[in-house]
């Protein structure tokens, strides 16, 4: 089943999401990218109802871009999180709400700090040192409580992420096989071979 993790460290945020697109019991695709790069220093992992996820992620991506073109500066992570949360909260009380859960990782270039926001389909948003969505969260969160270090280097952060992925593979009946991992730090966003 769909799983995504994210954790902060010393000057970076790691965002990881599985790459399977499943319909019922069938895997339709095993190389789906569920992490969107919203701007130069902003990453968003999206999961939930297929269709809604892509539609909403693209809607967010285009609006973040539009803001950047109009104002000649990018939204900071906290501002982007507020806007995205509001969109989801308004959608919740509409006739067809988006069922999309998000992990928003960004690097604030103004204050030189990484930020991570946990957002669910209801429009619940909170800043966290680490977060997860999906069935994997039941295993990963307690593991991250034990091993997460906000001052860890990127290598140590990736080692902690490896623990999460391995634990989910070991204990979850319907565990995903492959993950895509992206990092955002002061130099921007990039994908990492994992």
């Amino acid at each position: 089943m769909e799983t995504s993790f994210a954790l902060t460290g010393n000057g970076y945020v790691i965002v990881a999401a599985d790459t399977t697109a499943a319909r019922s019991i069938v895997k339709m695709k095993i190389d789906e990218d569920k992490i969107k790069t919203l701007s130069s220093h902003l990453l968003m992992a999206h999961s939930g109802e297929p269709g809604d996820t892509i539609q909403f992620a693209e809607y967010v991506e285009r609006n973040i871009r539009l803001f950047q073109i109009r104002n000649n500066y990018a939204l900071r992570p906290s501002a982007a999180a507020s806007w995205i949360r509001r969109s989801l909260a308004q959608s919740l009380r509409s006739r067809h709400p988006y069922a999309v859960n998000l992990l928003l990782g960004g690097y604030d270039t103004a204050e030189d700090q990484p930020h991570l926001y946990w957002i669910d389909y209801l429009g619940t948003s909170t800043e966290v040192p680490f977060g997860a969505h999906g069935y994997g969260s039941y295993f990963a969160l307690s593991l991250l409580d034990r091993y997460h270090d906000p001052n860890a280097t990127l290598e140590e952060g990736l080692a902690t992420l490896r623990r999460c992925v391995d634990e989910v593979s070991k204990r979850l009946v319907v565990s995903p096989g492959k993950y895509k991992v992206k990092v955002v730090d002061k130099d921007g966003t990039r994908e990492i071979e994992f």
Partner: protein, 208 residues
Amino acid sequence: MSIMQYNGGSVIAMVGKDCVAIASDLRLGNQALGISSNFQKIFSVTDRIYLGLPGLATDVTTLRELFRYRVNMYTIKEEREIQPETFAHLVSSTLYEHRFGPYFIEPVMAGLSKTPSGSFKPFIAATDLIGCLNFAKDFVVAGTASEKLYGVAEGLWESDLEPEDLFETISQTMLNAVDRDAYSGWGVVVHVITKDKVVTRTLKGRMD
């Protein structure tokens, strides 16, 4: 499981001698799964009014933003700060606007209102999710631990407590009530409002 219990969380407000206190837990959960241990549910409205919003977390943020907007509009139009009594009615009517599709929040307010003589009178109030006001003289509670809070507060509260004693009373009430509730806890924040300052303290709580 009701939507009111989905994210968990509790708030309490108490009256003291020329002071009021408001406290909440810091947990944000998804049913039994804890997500955050630093989710603020209490917000300052003015320097002398604090508002606690326990209930569905999405509506905590939505209402916080809505009340900030409405209080700002009031301040600009009236060219004065809103008084606690007026603010309580603003909260009540805002919630009743959504009578048949409510925000799942039970607000708790605490503040000091200015009397004609220039002194300050303690004020606390709470409403249900559709805005039925409850003005209490002693304490008000709301959230998933409300039953426990009633019990402990009933035992510990007494009238005319000084700010330091009120802090101790509300802190012990909150910590002990929250330890008997699976959906609240993970730390507590307490605000004690007196006429010339607000003291905010974060308490460590059980992390289970």
